[in-house]
């Protein structure tokens, strides 16, 4: 338990609840919901997104429009999987995250985290692993929306430019889903982006109960009960002390990263 009386993020990850049997309506519905997600991605990639490429609107507006489409589609998708009893999401009204130019970081307990965040955050940009750029179901979407490849050589500059253009940039500093067996260990990308862009970091915590769709849990290992997800936006962590620090940049990014880890460990 932490001081707010909630279980810590790692404590929650050990509560997996009761298994739904492999051959149950729940698992079938879960599979169908994931298939639906792929289908939506594919459909958008051959209809709306190509249209945006054809219109003479320029890359910037094409990206914004594509993100706006996703910002409408994802809440609908979340409502749908809620009706199916898969996941119920609370805390979708994070007004603090709407201002634009915000660097948003979040813990990454489950597979669907980025969908929850993009449903909430308008004009959301995101760091995306390279494999999604060649995934037939996702490639059209991640390219149209202009997400940033996490293996890009100009990663920091692209992220800073995106924030300067008013995008809200979502980063999962763990780089992968949370490993409940280990303490928080963040990559330094988020801190380095903050330093490069001279941008505060806006932390969001994501809680999932029971802990399903997590790292090393295949999608068909579902719980009997609906997964309750809650998003919570927190006050920003200021970048200023790290900009003013006398330390060389690599050490400032290390300190900043440790502070972020400590913040999440205390949640």
């Amino acid at each position: 338990m932490n001081k707010t009386g909630k279980n810590s993020l790692h404590e929650m990850a050990s509560n997996v609840g009761e298994d739904a049997p492999l051959f149950s309506l729940k698992v079938v519905l879960t599979g169908l919901c994931f298939a639906l997600f792929g289908l939506i991605g594919l459909l958008l990639s051959v209809t709306v997104f190509p249209l945006f490429y054809l219109l003479p609107i320029g890359a910037q507006r094409r990206k914004r429009w594509s993100r706006a489409v996703l910002n409408k589609v994802f809440p609908a998708y979340i409502r749908f999987i809620g009706l199916c009893g898969i996941v119920k999401v609370e805390g979708m009204e994070c007004d603090d995250l709407q201002a634009g130019g915000r660097l948003i970081v979040a813990n990454h307990p489950s597979l669907l985290d980025v969908i929850y965040l993009m449903a909430v955050v308008k004009n959301a940009n995101c760091l995306v692993k390279k494999s999604l750029f060649v995934n037939p179901f996702m490639a059209g979407t991640v390219r149209a929306a202009g997400y940033i490849r996490n293996d890009s050589e100009t990663l920091l500059q692209e992220c800073a430019a995106s924030l300067a253009a008013g995008d809200n940039l979502i980063v999962f500093p763990e780089g992968t889903r949370t490993d409940p067996a280990k303490p928080f260990r963040f990559l330094r990308g988020a801190a380095n982006i903050a330093l490069e862009a001279r941008s505060d970091v806006w932390p969001v915590t994501i809680r999932c109960q029971p802990a399903r769709l997590m790292k090393r849990q295949p999608w068909y290992k579902m719980s009997k009960s609906t997964i309750q997800v809650s998003l919570q936006a927190h006050a920003p962590i200021s970048v200023v002390p790290f900009l003013e620090s006398e330390l060389p940049r690599p050490r400032r990014s290390r300190q900043f990263t440790r502070d972020m880890e400590a913040f999440y460990a205390a949640q």
Binding site: E153, L155, L156, L187, R188, G189, N192, P248, R249, P250, R251, S253, R254
Partner: protein, 89 residues
């Protein structure tokens, strides 16, 4: 004069000052990424620092083939060997 040993010792100092790698953790075969926690973004700062040591321009891209501390020493030595520049400091 610059020997591989001198370069190595300078690197050990640099790793501690720049990347919080305690000198006890550095050994020639140590992998920069896995063992010492130096990431691709650090490579930019490392290149700048090596530039100071060698007096030669080094692009971060040159780090692609460098995996261990020894690789780094060899690379710096090669640069210095080509150009007779004294190790400052």
């Amino acid at each position: 004069m610059h020997s591989k040993k001198a370069i190595y010792e300078r690197l050990v100092t640099m790793m501690e000052e720049l990347f919080e790698v305690e000198s006890g953790r550095v050994f020639p075969e140590a992998l920069l990424g896995e063992d010492l926690g130096i990431d691709s973004i650090d490579a930019v700062d490392m290149a700048a620092e090596l530039q100071k040591i060698t007096g030669q321009k080094i692009k971060p891209a040159a780090f692609k083939d460098i995996r261990t501390v020894q690789d780094l020493v060899d690379a710096a030595y090669a640069v210095l060997g080509d150009n007779d520049v004294a190790v400052p400091g």
